[in-house]
């Protein structure tokens, strides 16, 4: 019996030790409190620093708790280098070739990717309903080509992700054809992790002051926004701005006052490169489609560092203007880019 009692005493001590360790761990873990909305240091200047709209941008607030390594890597978006197009449109039947051509015309991927960079590519993989031919999800060849270009430019890691609303990410990634293409190209598909969404302040937000945002897209060295240009029943068109809804939670809550809220989101997320897939454009029944009769072979890819200009140009493929799309217009009004396609240098390439 005494032997047993001794064993018990030892166990108790071990238990106390364990509790102390757990308490210490708890204290340590609570250092990073998730309940405080995070802020993000935004670039002081936008690519359109010369435009008057940019002057209205409020100075970025000092972050209360900076997201992991964000500010260090968050360089101001590059202004258009000399001799390089502000926006490029490549047309042709080979999605890979026109993607390469469009990116090359705006200065090549080396303009955006530095050696050792972490890149996130955000295509539109909204649902797992159908294959990419139906024009609801981004063309896998376009995405894979961007992965290849990033890796060739020296990127250390290229991740591709979206948050599908119809079906699981696993099935949507697979059915869209993007998973296979990206993995063949050397990139990784990431299934967004609930734990990495944080309520983040949107300093420039006009309608929303904060929203739960996937932190990795804010901390990556480069975020490439790769929407598919398609019809949308509420927004009229789903383009690069709308595509950013795939990096936040509570997406349903953005639908009220969608235009301004998407623009607010764009003011926070700021992809430094936008590549619009307009290879197979869904002209009706968007955003999910389902009829190949609604799909038009537009065979174009648009690339620009300016998300607003890219969207404004993409709108013209549907016989509309940037002005007609509420979120594009709102983003322009916030100084996030230009709607004036006549004032910028556009290079059209046939590839």
């Amino acid at each position: 019996m005494s032997e047993k009692a001794q064993q018990r005493a030892l166990t108790r001590r071990a238990f106390v030790r364990l509790m102390a360790a757990a308490g210490f761990g708890t204290a340590l873990a609570s250092c990073g409190d998730a309940s405080i909305p995070l802020s993000r240091e935004l670039p002081a200047t936008t690519p359109l620093a010369t435009r008057s709209a940019a002057a209205t941008v409020p100075p970025a607030t000092t972050p209360a708790t900076p997201p992991t390594g964000a500010p260090a890597t968050e360089a101001p978006a590059p202004a258009t280098p000399q001799g390089v197009a502000y926006l490029a449109v490549a047309r042709g039947t080979d999605p890979k070739a026109i993607t390469r051509a469009a990116v090359a015309a705006i200065g090549g991927m080396e303009r955006f990717v530095k050696s050792g960079n972490q890149v996130i590519i955000k295509p539109n993989i909204c649902v797992d309903y159908r294959t990419y031919e139906y024009g609801a999800t981004t063309n896998p060849d376009v995405v894979a080509t961007l992965v290849e270009l990033c890796l060739a430019a020296g990127a250390r890691r290229v991740r591709v992700m979206d948050l599908p609303f119809g079906g699981s990410p696993e099935s949507a990634y697979a059915r869209s054809g993007i998973a296979d293409a990206v993995e063949a190209a050397g990139g990784e598909m990431e299934i967004m992790n609930d734990a990495k969404f944080r309520v983040t302040k949107i300093p420039q937000g006009q309608d929303i002051a904060q929203w739960p945002v996937y932190q990795d897209v804010l901390t990556a060295d480069l975020l490439i926004d790769v929407p598919i240009a398609k019809h949308h029943s509420l927004a009229r068109l789903s383009l690069a701005g709308k595509n950013l809804m795939g990096v936040v939670q509570n997406r349903g809550g953005l639908h009220a006052n969608l235009g301004q809220r998407v623009a607010d989101l764009a003011s926070l997320v700021r992809p430094r490169l936008t590549v619009v897939d307009a290879v197979r454009t869904l002209m009706d029944s968007g955003p999910t489609g389902g009829n190949l009769d609604d799909v038009r072979l537009t065979n174009a890819v648009i690339a620009s560092h300016d998300i607003v200009a890219a969207d404004a140009y993409a709108a013209t493929l549907f016989g509309l203007e940037g002005q007609d799309i509420a979120y594009v217009k709102a983003a322009a009004a916030m100084g996030l880019g230009t709607l004036d396609l006549t004032a910028i240098r556009i290079e059209e390439i046939a590839a």
Partner: protein
């Protein structure tokens, strides 16, 4: 103490049995985890349900079909005819768990022997009901119990604990690097993206806990007195060819009687046992001092095992069958027999089969459903349909790109529909509550239901509605409307509706009424374009 040769050998056999038990349990859990909606592994995921002769027999009887699973169940029966209740002592994963979780020292006073009768009567009640096309009592089959408990309670709880623990650590930004590596390599592949949620999880966990708790009354209480599968295998074991024997070398030391987990070794009868109750665990062999016990090949002097005091009389068997028939009759007058309840939406294709006759209540479909829309019902479908699946669209929808539930169903209650066919199968009908719908009731623009509708020709159409704002200004809004002929009732609209609480669009039982005026006036369907044909060539069945 020096062990004699036979004793050593017996202990070796016991180790082999423990190894087999562990492997069988691990296989059971592994199959459960391994199957997911992308790869339902339709043959392997339901391996144990197919090995279970009780479920296969009742499903074949009730559904009037010859199931492929009968072959595997035949293997179990063959094993039983050879060695007795080997299944119970070596393979049954529930039996293994019940063996592991129990008191260190057993109670002296076990329930009376006559209680063993209960499992046989339950068996006859189940078989009697099956002849009349009912399988409600299969909620008491050991494989369905374990599958259901792991699926709805244990596994979700494990996932919740792991993911919450992970989320807690994610609060510390420094840890993100290693946590990401762990999450992407281990947590995500094993647990997948959706947290399983089951309203009945606590209830089912309590039921399983109750079975374990009974072990404090008598060892393997469930296996001894209650398990209907044990009853079935026990009856067959009376005919088994290899049986436990006590011979003249027995010194009447009584060491074997104490450890017997089913308490069937009778000191009053020269330490003999009933082959119907012996689960061939071989513990008695290991504890025998001499060579008084052996498991031996019976022929050529084979005789069926003797009758026991607790064997049911003919009258009792008839009473059990009669009671189950009476039970079917009583529960058969429920309203569900008259009309499908509005919220009782079955898995896709279940209306094409004799669903309630074929469903063995195993819960494989709850486990595989990638949105967790399939939930076990309690009394929503009446007493006869307890633990059958129903789609709760607010929790999760029937994913347009998924036909996994048909793939894992061991009895074909949910048919194996090709994806294309499943996408045309109507399971319900959506209804918009205009008094709550954001655009209709509150002038708030919202098209989420239309946006998520997966059909090529959307079952939700947007009407331009002229409205007046609070200040009396005129404006236009889009208001959703359901096209009855197109809606398949998948429920993604209900699932995604941004309205708080109950959705403003809900899916109810489909209606046979129709067609609507629109369908009568409709133009002939559009021709499928050539592009579709080329896409089909490229992607085959996935379209």
């Amino acid at each position: 103490m020096k062990h004699s040769g036979p004793m050593k050998k017996a202990r070796a056999w016991r180790r082999v049995r423990h190894a087999v038990q562990i492997l069988a349990l691990l296989l059971f859990v592994a199959l459960l985890i391994y199957a997911n909606a992308q790869s339902p592994r339709r043959f392997w995921a339901d391996l144990f349900a197919r090995l279970d002769p009780l479920t296969m027999l009742t499903a074949s009887l009730a559904g009037r079909v010859l199931l492929g699973g009968l072959i595997l169940a035949g293997f179990t029966l063959l094993l039983t005819l050879l060695f007795g209740r080997l299944w119970c002592g070596w393979l049954c994963p529930l039996g293994t768990l019940l063996e592991w979780f129990g008191p260190r020292r057993a109670r002296r006073k076990a329930p009376p022997q006559r209680w063993r009768l209960a499992k046989v009567l339950l068996l006859f009640a189940i078989l009697g009901a099956a002849i009349f096309g009912n399988q409600s009592l299969l909620i008491f089959d050991p494989i369905t119990i374990l599958n259901r408990t792991l699926t709805t309670a244990v596994w979700p709880a494990v996932r919740y604990a792991v993911v919450q623990g992970e989320a807690f650590l994610y609060r510390l930004p420094l840890l993100w690097g290693p946590l990401d590596a762990l999450h992407n390599a281990v947590v995500q592949p094993i647990f997948q993206g959706v947290q399983p949620i089951f309203a009945l999880a606590p209830l089912l966990a309590l039921f399983a806990a109750g079975l374990v708790a009974l072990n404090w009354w008598a060892e393997r209480f469930w296996c001894r007195y209650l398990c209907p599968l044990g009853g079935l295998l026990g009856l067959l074991s009376r005919l088994s060819l290899v049986r436990r024997e006590v011979n003249d070398a027995c010194v009447q030391c009584g060491r074997c009687a104490h450890p017997c987990p089913t308490g069937t070794i009778d000191p009053g009868d020269n330490y003999r046992s009933d082959p119907a109750e012996c689960i061939v665990c071989l513990d008695c062999l290991a504890d025998c001092q001499g060579e008084g016990i052996g498991f031996r090949w019976q022929p050529p002097h084979w005789r069926p095992g003797g009758l026991q005091e607790y064997d049911p009389t003919r009258r009792q068997v008839l009473a059990a069958v009669g009671a189950s028939v009476l039970g079917i009759a009583l529960t058969g007058v429920e309203p569900i027999a008259q009309r499908q309840p509005a919220t009782m939406i079955r898995p896709p294709g279940a209306t094409l089969t004799d669903f309630s006759a074929l469903c063995i209540r195993c819960g494989a479909c709850f486990r595989i459903c990638p949105t967790q829309g399939l939930q076990p019902s309690l009394f929503e479908g009446g007493v006869q349909n307890v633990m059958t699946p129903r789609l709760v669209s607010r929790l999760g929808f029937c994913d347009f790109g998924c036909n996994a539930c048909g793939g894992v169903c061991p009895t074909g209650a949910i048919p194996r529909l090709a994806l294309e066919e499943k996408q045309r199968t109507v399971i319900g009908l959506a209804r918009i509550d205009r008094d709550r719908c954001l655009p209709w009731a509150y002038n708030i623009p919202c098209i989420v239901c239309e946006e998520t509708c997966p059909l090529a020709d959307k079952a939700i159409q947007l009407e331009q509605v002229q409205v007046l704002s609070d200040h009396g200004q005129a404006g236009a809004l889009q208001g959703p409307r359901v096209v009855k002929e197109r809606c398949i009732g998948c429920g993604v609209c209900e699932s995604k509706c941004p309205m708080g609480g109950e959705a403003a669009i809900r899916v109810f039982a489909p209606t046979a009424a129709g067609p609507s005026l629109g369908a009568i006036l409709r133009q002939p369907p559009r021709q499928t374009s050539e592009v579709l044909e080329s896409a089909k060539v490229r992607h085959g069945d996935s379209l």
